[in-house]
Amino acid sequence: MDINPILLLAALMVASTPILLAAIGELVVERAGVLNLGVEGMMIVGAVCGYIAGHSSGNPYFGFVGAACAGAVVSLVFAVLTQFLLTNQVATGLGLTMFGLGLSSLIGQDAVGSPDLTVAKLSFPILSDIPVLGPILFRHDLMVYLSIVIVAGVWAFLKYSRAGLILRAVGENHEAAHALGYNVRRVRVFAILFGGACAGLAGAYISLVRVPQWIDGITAGAGWIALAIVVFASWKPWRLIAGAYLFGGVTVLQLNLQAEGLKIPVEYLSMAPYLATIIVLVMIRAGRAPASLGKPFHPSS
């Protein structure tokens, strides 16, 4: 066997980071009662803008900031349409994906980059040198840790903060939240913007770290997977990490098993994560989905 479990686990963390980032954003959006199916579109706009910002400034972190802004701007279109013009969320989200794929390609037509722009791997004193755990956990780039910090932040925000409580209330029952005097639309717009920024970061992680380069369609469906793991995690932040790492793990393990020469039906294996998500959905039942998910809200209604 040539599979090195330590390297495998380390690779898994990197492969999972983009879907984790996009998913934590979408989780907040869905907890606020909004279903934004445009994750893929926001991600790819983030990917191209991050790439351009990073390479033109020579600083990848500048790229990430640019990507987060770009993702948020694109999501603003969705926010205005669904929250103020009360369009259907499913159709608007799908439109956002179409729009984003087209727009990113237009923006990126003449994007040039240098292969030398890299995001440094961090090294922590002592921690990075721990056998086994060091290489798995403590030798990644900043964004890997940031994604986990965001997950933790979202968890704490939803569980302990007053704003988080309001956000959940809006997602569970917007009529009641409205009656209590909360501004449902404002909460949702902020949630959507946060989701867009996270999706933008996720896209930039692909174009600046994981691949790293820009070509049309580089996100290759990662946004849809992010949507899947939000459900897989039954809208709970910590489970999201498990879900993302499971998805990433299946991808990386599958490649490793192939390289090992094992006879596995690769072409069928790639549907395993989706089937697993359906099974999880059945097991958790419907009760856990935010009750107002996908329903339009207008203050006068």
């Binding site: 599979i3 292969p115 049309d216 490793n256 090992e260 006879k263 690769v266």
Partner: protein, 360 residues
């Protein structure tokens, strides 16, 4: 395009359509290209486009060039090709295997338009087919890979299980094994021609499993980036020279160079000598280019690889020369026998020594 010329050609086209004939510009030869991907994909389509532009440069004002990118295979392709024929194209190049049936269908409706389909096998009176013997380049890659590896593990990122890709694997393996009997191939199929994220993951998995050479039959530069980050890993450019990743990790490349063929075929249309042909060219005509072998390769190895390149170009050496057995040990080619083009075109087996199964 100037608005006036557009209107003028539009009017001409209308007239031609009224007569049931495709429009023809009197002096210029109109050359059309149908691409499966975007022209900046960095791989397959970009190199067809690049070659097409070279052709346009060669002819200058004598040709009018039109193209359509990102045409999905299937019914959309048929419409795109028809549209181009209606628009008055004299010759249309369709540059993906999936355009085969659409090309043949449209060709029957436009007997006066010449069609050139890349990588297919259906020829007609006005449909030529052309393809490149990339396996010749793979023989050189295999030789280099077998020489430079120290771990004796060579990774191979394979795309879609079709004969062309399998020929490449076999050719590379045979030649790596020849110069280094201890080599072992690790093959990952990603079932796509271009997916940088998957290619990067595959390259990383191969490197982590100890491969210090990664060959690829996919189009992006993502594996090079992964190799560069890992350090000490050799790669080869695919479709493009990918020289920006040299001298390390990229130590050579297989370059798709369609320009000489395109110039030749368009010239034939201009001269009125075009006839339907089945072209399968390799290193000898330059259709398969071998990128400069970088200096990190020891001089004697470089010389060996270049000698093989020259021998193949001169027709003195065939990469599939017996004795070669199939994977199951049954004999395929006897001592000194070379593979027929028919055998190569439908090759769907690994040669002896390659591990694993072809997905099907």
């Amino acid at each position: 395009m100037k608005r006036r010329t557009l209107l003028a050609t539009g009017a001409g086209a209308a007239l031609a359509a009224a007569m049931g004939m495709p429009a023809r510009a009197q002096d210029k030869t109109k050359v059309g290209f149908i691409y499966v991907g975007p022209i900046n994909d960095g791989g397959w389509t970009q190199h067809h486009h690049h070659s097409a532009m070279e052709m346009v440069e060669h002819f200058g004002d004598a040709v009018e060039f039109v193209y359509q990118e990102s045409v999905p295979e299937g019914p959309d392709a048929e419409r795109a090709i028809t549209q181009m024929a209606l628009g008055g194209a004299d010759i249309i190049f369709t540059t993906s295997f999936g355009f085969m049936d659409p090309t043949v269908n449209v060709a029957t409706n436009f007997p006066d338009v010449k069609f050139e389909h890349a990588t297919g096998y259906k020829q007609a009176d006005n449909v030529s087919v052309y393809s490149a013997r990339f396996y010749e380049g793979r023989a050189i890659q295999g030789t280099l890979a077998g020489r430079v590896t120290t771990t004796n593990k060579i990774g191979y990122i394979a795309s879609v299980p079709i004969p062309e890709v399998i020929r490449g694997i076999n050719s590379a393996y045979i030649h790596a094994k020849k110069v280094n009997p201890d080599v072992e191939f690790k093959i990952i199929w990603i079932f796509e021609w271009l997916n940088p994220a998957k290619e990067a993951d595959a390259a990383k998995a191969l490197i982590e499993q100890g491969c210090d050479v990664v060959l690829q039959h996919t189009d992006s530069t993502a594996p090079h980036q992964a190799a560069r980050e890992a350090g000490g890993v050799y790669t080869f450019g695919q479709a493009a020279d990918m020289a920006e990743y040299g001298p390390m990790p990229r130590i050579s490349s297989i370059i798709d160079n369609w320009a000489p063929y395109y110039i030749d075929r368009v010239q034939a249309v201009i001269d009125g000598t075009w006839s339907s042909v089945n072209t399968w060219d390799g290193i000898s005509t330059g259709m398969v280019g071998i990128g400069e072998i970088s200096d990190v390769v020891p001089a004697e190895v470089k010389a060996e690889a270049e000698a093989m390149r020259d021998a193949i170009a001169a027709g003195e050496y065939h990469p599939f020369t017996g004795p070669i057995n199939k994977q199951d040990g049954s004999p395929w080619l006897a001592e000194g026998e070379t593979a027929s083009d028919g055998d190569l075109a439908s090759m769907f087996f690994y040669v002896e020594g390659v591990e694993g199964d072809i997905p099907s």
